[in-house]
């Protein structure tokens, strides 16, 4: 079940710096939005507000009409929002398998803390191993994240996100640090396994990925939304090119 998202007049500031300034974004169910903008333009701050890690100074976030303001991050996660991180956020001392399994512990009854029936364990194991298999990580299930390559770590984060079966996914630079071929591969994985049946916002600098996944993009610059529309049209916009690629109009 994909979710509809409505962000209205969202603002926040950190230590005097306005990170977001009255940003409006609407997402219809199942829509995929690319979010681009120079470093520090407020893209990741927007994600932090969506997941409840910062409180907005003003504005509202509605998920299927439900106001997320004031909800704790764990509550928001249970409403069905999951994300990945630009700088990767993996549990360093837990195995790859336990990293993916982390998404399955929410909302479990107390009994589950002490006992899972062998059948339930097997079922969970099978489904998570299947998931790891999609990302080519099943061989590495018992390794620690530190023993993976960067590309595998990014895949692992996406696998963890899928294990939670969210309605809205937030991908923060899923292809950062990847070669074109790797970007191509992760684009395909996202297209076939992540996006179907979900709404998504994707932050990415690589246009290769954005163009392939997002029919629509929004551009942030210095905390303001400066463009929003069909991908081709926005990328052709000279204001966008100016803010994103440098002062020189081209």
């Amino acid at each position: 079940m994909a979710a509809a998202v409505e962000i209205q007049g969202l603002s926040c500031r950190f230590g005097g710096v306005k990170a977001l300034d009255a940003v409006d974004i609407r997402l219809s169910p199942g829509e995929v939005l690319g979010l681009i903008g120079p470093n520090g333009s407020g893209k990741t701050s927007l994600f932090n507000l969506l997941t409840g890690h910062h409180n907005p100074e003003a504005g509202a976030i509605l998920l299927d009409g439900l106001d997320l303001a004031g909800q704790s991050p764990s509550q928001i996660a249970r409403f069905g929002i999951a994300r990945t991180f630009q700088n990767l956020r993996l549990l360093r001392r837990l195995s790859v398998y336990e990293n993916v399994r982390a998404a399955r512990h929410a909302c479990a009854p107390l009994r589950d803390a002490f006992w899972l029936s062998p059948a339930a364990r097997r079922q969970e194991r099978d489904s998570l191993m299947n998931l790891l298999d999609i990302f080519g990580l099943s061989e590495k299930a018992q390794k620690t994240p530190a023993e993976l390559t960067l590309v595998q770590m990014r895949h692992l984060e996406i696998a963890r996100l899928l294990a939670a079966d969210p309605k809205l996914v937030l991908l923060d630079e899923p292809a950062a640090g990847m070669t074109s071929a790797e970007t191509q591969a992760i684009t395909e994985v996202i297209a076939t396994h992540v996006l179907p049946g979900r709404s998504a916002i994707v932050i990415e600098h690589k246009m290769q990925l954005v163009a392939a996944l997002c029919p629509r993009i929004a551009v942030l610059n210095a905390g303001r939304k400066i463009a929003d529309g069909p991908t081709g049209q926005v990328l052709a916009d000279s204001a966008v090119r100016q803010s994103y690629f440098g002062a020189k109009p081209c």
Partner: protein
């Protein structure tokens, strides 16, 4: 001035720099372009000695500096202006600047003779000299970080993404400062996302992708748009 040869650095098992070689020429601005995650910041931290390269060499005027500890590298004259304006938020602007001269403690006057000059260069800092640095705006903090580095009388100034998180008008101001420093004949090594802007000021540039230097040249030698297309948009084009 600084010769970097086949530097390799990794985080755990992730190789971030896979054999980087480049030269930073004496006087002038050398610019390093590349997409996020290409290893640009890793290279800066490696030159500064905070990350250890596990192979390769870095020679400053012929003297090997790889393996030295960060403070020794600073006292050799390789000074970093880090990304995200790492200032000392709870210290006054003046103390921040004094902190920049730590490496020159043994000189007469403790290296504080440049304080006046730096405050002259950045009048906005002089106005706020006794204010805590954490209360400054982003642009002012960036100026402070540059000023602090200048206090060390650097032979080479390493600047890591000075435009991050700043409004376009402030970015232009910062780049004017960088341009002025270059015109004074200082050696600057600049890592920057804003390719057009950087190429306007650079004397020489390198392109870093996937931990490799994939291109090096002078601005104007190549079509900038094509270069940017390659570096940032991920389009595959033959070089």
């Amino acid at each position: 001035m600084l010769e970097i040869r086949d530097i390799r650095t990794s985080y755990g098992k992730i190789a971030a720099l896979k054999g980087v070689s480049l030269d930073i020429a004496d006087g002038g601005l050398t610019c390093l372009l590349g997409p996020n995650g290409a290893g640009k910041t890793t290279l800066i931290w490696t030159i500064a000695g905070i990350l250890k390269a596990h192979s390769g060499s870095m020679k400053l005027d012929g003297e090997e500096i790889s393996g030295m500890r960060p403070h020794s590298i600073v006292s050799k004259g390789v000074v970093t202006v880090p990304e995200n304006r790492l200032v000392f938020p709870e210290m006054t602007v003046k103390d921040n600047l004094i902190a920049g001269a730590f490496s020159r403690r043994k000189e007469k006057g403790g290296g504080l003779d440049d304080l006046e000059e730096v405050l002259e260069r950045f009048p906005r800092l002089r106005e706020r000299a006794n204010q805590e640095a954490g209360t400054l705006s982003g642009g002012e903090q960036q100026m402070l970080a540059v000023g602090r580095a200048l206090m060390a009388r650097p032979k080479i100034l390493l600047m890591d993404e000075p435009s991050t998180g700043l409004a376009p008008i402030i970015v232009e101001e910062i780049f004017e400062i960088i341009g002025r420093l270059r015109d004074e004949g200082r050696t600057i090594f600049l890592v920057e996302q804003n390719a057009h802007l950087a190429l306007d000021y650079a004397d020489h540039f390198y392109l870093l992708e996937q931990g490799h230097v994939t291109f090096g040249g002078r601005p104007g030698e190549v079509d900038h748009d094509e270069l940017i297309q390659r570096a940032y948009l991920g389009a595959r084009k033959a070089s």
